[in-house]
Amino acid sequence: MKKDILKHELVPDHVILSESEVSKVLKKIEAHPEQLPKIKTDDPVVKSIGAEEGDILEITRKSATAGKFVTYRRVHD
């Protein structure tokens, strides 16, 4: 059941970024981690992929205008 929600059409792909990826991404988008949108630690997706507080998630959304859109969220409680 826990993994099932990740397959739902409303749920985009969430990937936990490694530390080196995080610094690369932050440099690319010119932002501090605090400026990113948040995602709660008790979010069902966060729980099922096993992310922890402070992690940055890369979210690949299906977009009606761009086809694919990559965004980021910081895990926060």
Binding site: M1, I5, K7, P12, I39, S63, K68
Partner: protein
């Protein structure tokens, strides 16, 4: 097609424009290349032209996108008010539509007026009417009243005698054992003789007996919590269940239910079960569906902006006093919106500081606003 897409991607990379050429755009260009049979030189030219047009069409820095979004959603909203009352409902289920629904979405109501689900099934059960009907009866609410053949309140013997209608139970695909279990759980003084149940009140009084009769009638014998009526419909070769009321978490756990497409129109429930990103998608989807249904078109980008604002905090926040506008950092901005006295008083008690970084604050005190050309400042290097 795949080859053409790769070719276009290569050209785009050469022009150093992969940042603005989204997947969709590349796909559309590749489609044109195939349709018009363009050669390499023409493709080069096309990519160059598209890049130029894209840059021109882009929203400029400092543009008031929020205001534009509000106006773009608000204007069609004015047309909705007049027409909404004529639409009562779709088919057998009544669903809130039009302006009331749109308000519900942006207000992020916890309790929406007509929650409803669309339950789909996994591939092997899609055409299986028998299976779908069984599930529908497990999900939909049935009470004792739906399956009695004879209901008799006996004042002489001080009991309620219920004769269950076995063919009806069969027809509803309910489990007799399960019904008996539920009855025994709910009532202590009950005698069971095959399909005839007799209930005795706790105290032998007429009042108690009548109350008991009502209680027996209303005993729920099947159904998922919060779900009422169900409607089974055939939509293009597959059976779909529509419900009145919603419980996404429980339904997704059921066997045979499609875990990919089954949804609800309750945004808070989507957020709770599937996470904030799914909640964001649900807002966009519901808002757009409401507009489409009324024959109005709003660019998705405006709705996406609204959904982004509402979900930026990790939970769904409403637009307005209790959500985004009420949580602005600036005292003056909050005071100018609603409940002016409350905000000013609280700010003075706490000793809040207004950094005057927003637009409203600067309008109030008569300074240039940080918007459009006003959002640019001058930074000078000190001479050493």
């Amino acid at each position: 097609m795949q080859e053409t897409i790769e070719k276009v991607t290569k050209v785009v990379k050469k022009k150093r424009a992969q940042k603005i050429f989204t997947e969709q755009l590349i796909y559309e260009i590749a489609e044109t290349v195939e349709k018009r049979d363009l050669d390499d030189k023409e493709l080069d030219e096309l990519v160059k032209k598209v890049k130029k047009s894209y840059d021109r069409a882009k929203v400029e820095d400092g543009e008031a996108v929020g205001t534009v979004a509000a106006q773009s959603v608000g204007e069609p909203g004015t047309q909705m008010t007049m027409r909404t009352f004529h639409y009562a409902g779709v088919a057998e289920l009544n669903v809130t539509l039009g302006l009331p629904r749109l308000i519900e979405i942006v207000d992020a109501r916890k309790k929406i007026s007509t929650p409803t689900m669309a339950i789909y099934f996994e591939e092997e059960f899609r055409g299986d009417e028998e299976f779908v009907r069984t599930i529908a009866n497990q999900i939909g609410k049935s009470t004792m009243n739906d399956i009695v053949q004879d209901f008799h309140v006996n004042y002489a013997e001080m009991n309620v005698v219920v004769e269950l209608d076995m063919p009806k139970i069969e027809d509803k695909r309910l489990d007799f054992e399960d019904i008996i279990n539920r009855v025994e759980k709910a009532f202590k003084k009950v005698k069971i003789d095959n399909n005839v149940l007799s209930f005795e009140p706790a105290k032998p009084s007429i009042r108690e007996l009548r109350l008991l009769a009502d209680k027996v009638r209303d005993l729920q014998i099947s159904g998922v919590k919060n779900i009422g009526k169900v409607v089974i419909r055939k939509e293009e070769d597959e059976w779909v269940i529509h419900t009145e009321g919603s419980n996404l978490g429980a339904v997704l756990k059921m066997e045979g239910v499609d875990k990919v497409r089954t949804t609800t129109n309750d945004i808070h429930e989507v957020e709770k079960v599937l996470g904030i990103e799914a909640g964001r998608n649900a807002i966009i989807h519901e808002a757009q569906r409401t507009m489409d249904e009324q024959g109005l078109t709003v660019d998705v980008r405006h709705i996406m902006l609204v959904a982004d604002m509402m979900s930026a905090d990790g939970s769904i926040k409403s637009i307005g006093r209790h959500g985004i506008s009420g949580e602005k950092a600036s005292v003056l901005a909050r005071a100018s919106f609603e409940e002016t006295g409350k905000h000013l008083l609280r700010a003075s008690i706490r000793g809040e500081i207004d950094h005057l970084t927003g637009i409203i604050e600067n309008i109030i005190i008569g300074q240039p606003i940080p918007l459009g050309t006003g959002s640019v400042g001058v930074l000078m290097k000190q001479k050493k």
